[in-house]
């Protein structure tokens, strides 16, 4: 699982610009996990304690958001249950909605306003990450194939990523256009 370093010469180092962080929780000020040891100054124990003190509220914000997001997804599944063998529309729509909100949210926090450092961990990583799910999607497809519903399973397998990518792309593009219109 080593990163394909050769390709990096031809692609932009997408993960290096703090304003364009790929990870929705990677604000410029949250600091890298193990990166502190790369820089000098201070005893290792002190640096570890400082890093932990900075990280604890971020982890708590992610946990609170994750609980809320998972509960919202559970609520959607109770409101719109999927019968055994049927196409899992609820999970697909939950994922598409979560991706759309993520697309808009990330444009807002990178292009419009620099929020408090816990906003991205709470809402992006926590709420939206907890609301959307990859495991239910994959196991739904596996169950459908196992129950001789291969057609429905494969349709779900292909439609979900298409809907998710269309949602995140459309929402990000629309939000960018709206922001440009304001200026």
């Amino acid at each position: 699982m080593t990163a394909p370093r050769d390709d990096r010469a031809t692609t932009e180092p997408v993960d290096r610009d703090p304003n364009l962080g790929l990870d929705p929780d990677r604000g410029p000020d949250t600091g890298p996990g193990g990166g502190a040891s790369a820089f000098g100054g201070g005893a290792p124990a002190v640096r570890r304690r400082d890093a932990a003190r900075r990280e604890a509220p971020v982890v708590a914000a992610v946990a609170a958001g994750g609980a809320a997001g998972a509960a919202a997804r559970y609520g959607a599944a109770l409101l719109w249950p999927t019968a055994a063998g049927a196409f899992p529309w609820t999970t697909l729509l939950v994922n598409a909605v979560g991706c759309a909100v993520m697309g808009a949210f990330m444009v807002l926090v990178t292009d419009l306003w620099a929020p408090h450092r816990l906003v991205r961990p709470f809402f992006g990583t926590g709420v939206l990450g907890g609301f959307t799910t990859f495991s239910t999607y994959a196991v739904d497809v596996q169950r459908l194939i196992e129950d001789d519903r291969a057609g429905t399973g494969l349709a779900c397998l292909a439609l979900t990523p298409l809907a998710a990518l269309a949602a995140v792309w459309t929402a990000a593009a629309t939000t960018r256009r709206a922001l440009r219109g304001r200026r």
Partner: protein, 124 residues
């Protein structure tokens, strides 16, 4: 009670994803989002085993809500997966973007199938 199980699972799964992603990032600095890939594959495997266990009567509905709906649901993510794909495509890493979707979907499904097979072998 059901809601509490989902809330508790979500409160564990999401930070687990966050910390795993951070740990993976500190070891791999390439463009490919291995952190999200890792949590999604692991979550699919665990949910595959758990769902199989429920089908074979080896796990309760409460375990399904706590570990399945809550923990695995929050550990795995579609929103970050698709946003990272969008960023790869927008920054010119088209190959990585396509590879991320294809590899993520196939590895996730493979992990779910492997988990179900494991459950069938254990409790079937």
């Amino acid at each position: 009670m059901n809601w509490l199980l989902v809330l508790a699972g979500g409160a564990v799964g999401a930070p687990l994803r966050h910390l795993t992603d951070r740990a993976v990032r500190s070891r791999h600095d390439g463009a490919f989002p291995w952190g999200t890939f890792t949590v999604n594959v692991v979550g699919c495997l665990v949910l595959g085993v758990l769902t199989g266990a429920v089908v074979h009567g080896a796990a309760s509905h409460s375990a399904q809500l706590l570990v399945g709906t809550g923990l695995c649901g929050a550990l795995t993510t579609y929103s970050t997966f698709s946003y990272e794909t969008l960023r790869l495509a927008e920054t010119g890493a088209r190959f990585h973007a396509a590879a991320n979707v294809v590899a993520g979907v196939l590895a996730g499904l493979g992990a779910a199938v492997a988990g179900a097979a494991l459950a069938a072998a254990l409790w079937g």
